[in-house]
Amino acid sequence: MSTVHPSIVYDWLRHDKKFPHVWCPGCGLGIVLGSLVRALARSGLGKNEVVLVSGIGCSGRLPVYVDVGSVHTTHGRALTFATGIKLAKPELTVITVMGDGDSTAIGGNHLIHAARRNLDLTAIIVNNQTYGMTGGQFSPTTPLGARASTAAYGHIEPAFDISALCATAGASFVARATVFHVVQMDKLLLQAITRRGFNVVEVLSPCHTNFGRQNRLGSQIDMMKGFKKAAVQASRWDKMSESEREGRFPVGVLVDRDRPLYLDSYKRICETAARLRAEGQI
């Protein structure tokens, strides 16, 4: 990594927006924002070469604060808008920032099909395991047995594993980080932004205001220490037995593979059509 001073973030913020930002004190989204800006600064991309797309939810506010091209779209449709932007302007680096409800519930179909197509996009999924903005209702990633506003006696559905879902659906790069592992998150985001293909980075973030309070998890400091305790580096995870994995999760690069890119196939089919038209066959 090139040497980028962390205070580079001030150069990338939109100073006509109101600061401090709207998120709760200690919210992990601020840390993700800083990490994303450092990754962008390290990637060498200019502010006009990047588009940030977000849906609805706490994470929807994130692109508003960054001084790059940004689109704040409807609920769950961040990837849909990003697909259109990328196909219209393939030279742009398109990054979507979504929450767990935004990406796996309302936009669940868009997520799996974007992964299947392997479009050249980066999807940052901030997973706080609840619908934080609307008051702590359960989301598809709320763990089994956890309490939520709409599950007062404990949640009865098993949770989605976003990374496993994206890997199965065909994403070419899947990584997981937590806001506690901020240095690793910087590296993973840089890797995802500079890589071609559908790149997913799932970031576990504490929602101490809703999820933490209802589950007696304490402040965001306690929740981040919980992430530190439960996280296992992906290289070590493979060697662990089933019993050791109980209650823990891997962080780091989980999937890194090459698959045919949608953009390349799209370009080829356009060229074929143009050739056939020129030959008078269609």
Binding site: H5, P6, K17, K18, I31, V64, V182
Partner: protein, 121 residues
Amino acid sequence: MSENAVDQPPPADSPKKITLYPAWCKRCGNCVAFCPRQVLKNDEWGYPQVAHPEKCISCHMCEMLCPDFAISVGEDAPVRKEGAWFKEETPSAPRGAREFSHSPERLAPEPADREEEDDGA
């Protein structure tokens, strides 16, 4: 206090300049909790204070884990608008009680064509 604490002598090039920006601080306590050397401590209002600048190893952990960009480490920290920074010698007080000569919400000079603050979505 962090369990990462290691009782080792600080490097020779200490102390590092730590710049706090309480106008943006929401008193979440991340910087104090995750500093590996206990450089920072909370004041009576919950704002961070530099208690032991000589212990700082410039790991930038406080800066990276601050969700509100309210702390910077190093001499090349961004230069804020004159008066926007909270002066260290002024006694601590809750937000609102402090006096700023300019809006604390602004880092950069305001565009001339700007009429009023827009929180836009």
